[in-house]
């Protein structure tokens, strides 16, 4: 069927990553472009980070973006790639009914997995200091039951996000039979550093010369975005 998001295939691949014996890695992205870069680099899956997406939008990670605004970003990410995406679903954006709606919409844009936190809405980013109110346990279970009860049964693979304890050797995680590691926000953070450096250089030098050769060329941009496919299709379909 034209344009069908092969969702069941993406879901299948993601479950394989979780339940197969080895350790899997997924890499953060926050836009169609960064998702494409993660895929081209060779990663098996993508982590759609809530912090990174809100940061890329210029917003704070406190539910300043609505769930439908986040969904639009996820749709671009899913359309740009063929590997599974796991989404940071925050608190689920409300109660069990909002979770049901969210999950239905995530499926329709081709997202393979979602992670729901037991915080209260609106959330605070985990790295911000201070007390964080956690969700009522029964209510939180209701959210999960509303969508996922039948699917997961008793399997509980462990997924970790070693952002703060990054110095622990990955070998330790492998020994502990961790199923998956999320590299949580490093594309966003490296893009900030690069753009800050580029801005400062160009502002100061009033010239592109020292920057031009150190950044991706326009030809590489066109290659990354498959302009060739469009040019071929134009020859085929335009008069």
């Amino acid at each position: 069927m034209p344009g069908h998001n092969d969702l069941s295939n993406k879901c299948f691949k993601f479950r394989q990553m979780l339940v197969s014996p080895g350790l899997s890695f997924i890499m953060e992205a926050h836009s169609g472009l960064s998702a494409k870069i993660v895929e081209r680099s060779g990663f098996e899956g993508i982590w759609a980070s809530g912090l990174s997406i809100s940061t890329a939008l210029g917003l704070r990670d406190s539910n300043e973006a609505s769930w439908s605004q986040v969904l639009e970003v996820l749709e671009f990410m899913s359309d740009a790639t063929n590997i599974p995406i796991m989404v940071d679903g925050d608190t689920g954006y409300g109660n069990f009914n909002n979770v049901r709606i969210l999950v239905k919409k995530l499926c329709s844009v081709g997202i393979a997995a979602v992670c729901i936190e037991d915080k209260t809405f609106p959330k605070t980013n985990s790295f911000i200091s201070g007390m964080q109110e956690l969700a009522n346990i029964e209510e939180f279970c209701g959210k999960i039951k509303a969508e996922f009860a039948n699917i997961w049964q008793n399997r509980c693979p462990v997924v970790i996000v070693p952002t703060k304890y990054y110095q622990t050797p990955t070998e330790r995680f492998r020994e502990a039979q961790i199923a998956m590691i999320i590299w949580a926000n490093h594309n966003m953070r490296s893009s900030i550093k690069a753009m800050q450096d580029t801005c400062q250089k160009i502002l100061k030098e009033q010239s592109l010369i020292s920057v031009e050769t150190k950044i991706t060329s326009l030809d590489e941009v066109f290659s990354l975005l498959n302009y060739d496919e469009l040019a071929n299709a134009e020859r085929h379909y335009l008069p």
Copy 2:
């Protein structure tokens, strides 16, 4: 008034940049985050590049994004900053009536200026080789007249985009009394390079160690996005 986009102020600043004697520079951005970085770096204005915005969305610069999808990106950029933004308005996304609607919407999200090209819809990026059909001159003038005739009168400051001829010394442009230079897509291109490098390193090393200290820290991310303001407001307004 709460939340008012100070549009007339942004427009005023942008005209000053165009009509004042010196040479002005504006720097490309393609998201709320990159716009904020341009502003913090000290640039006076922002170029909302069509190529960069569509690339960031994972799309090609051939009107694959609808005008309202681009507008949403522009709204995040405008909300995140206080300096004027000039937008790459492509062909205006249709005829004079579409231009009228576009300009009305750009104003309502706080965009200070727009650049309309004399190509036909849907457009092809200028750096793609091959013939490009240009718009009928009369129709193109109609588009411009529909919104801007009274405003600009006879003033014609020249704005250039030296992406390909970047080796020309800026001094030459100054001598030629150019009013404004647009650094057109270098934030997008430097972010691609940085994310590709980061992905490759993390994928290969299965570790964050060699990346962690070379990218923006989480504290810097929180500072860039003004998390302090939110924490202060929480003390003030939460019970």
Copy 3:
């Protein structure tokens, strides 16, 4: 300025309706079209009902639509009219910070007033039976203070929504010095009745004959939507 939403003018008119001696009436709308009909009928203002907007979207009035989806509807309503619109802001869609963002966005699309309820998010429609949890008083005051404290001072005009007690003569409300009456959902409800009747007739008769002369003609539709203005502009701006 082209396309500027004359927000301060709309706000001024709305305050006049609230603080002037007489009784004012505003009528529900839920779309660009229904808002236009309210304005053309001669009402002074529009009530953008949460129940009606979610019903028109095919959703339930329990925050199934995100705040940004509702905002898009409001933008169409505001663009289609020149009289002030008061919005049903539900619970404010989160805490004080979400209220701040909402109010900023309402201003940018030209909404003159907003009504925030002391329920908890996600809300339940008031006419649904059963207990409804009300917001913590201090937190609710924080939401209001975050945006409106300086503006309203001590003036407290009373606004009522006599949906259930519609048999009370309007004269009673006038005597009680009520400032404004909201006719809350009657456009939505009359459109449902009309569409149900039309569907049933056409389905049964397999013909348009008995319906055609009882509904608005296409010419009236074109007149309501100002197709004349577009035709004139085409003569002016197209080659």
Copy 4:
């Protein structure tokens, strides 16, 4: 899978309507609500009219709404119903590439069929007098080929829209072996009439009394939107 739009099922039903011997009827809708009303009335399919959707948004049928804005309306319509929807795809919103993107997106929101016109972008409504420029034949065929060539082969069922020649008895169309009749805009037009009447009555009488009993009751609204399902789910999933 939770929330999966049963698109292939909807497509199958729609093809059955086209290729089965008898005459089928589909009824116009322009919102989630009106689509639900069409389904509940007993129609087999829905016509998502471009004129009706733009009118409901308060816009003119000249591509004033972007394709992604129309898509959002279609998504609400599809989510609210289980019968197939055929969409008025206008000119396809650009060239063959825009058609490809549109069709991919229509599939992902669960639309069963699309009708593409051989007009040029931006379009004019067919009932507006004056010359209308038709698309270049070869370019138009390219658009169609880009998505549909393999699927339809040589079958050509005829679909008609008897809006202007509504007095022709349906029996004539049956004899001519027409496959499908589209009742093209009568829900939108009947809703306008009803809302205009309601507004005028309430404005004049300053009372709801003569309107209240002639429109859909709130209880019927809640029943139409399945509030019962939500109440049941709340008992199940909330603590």
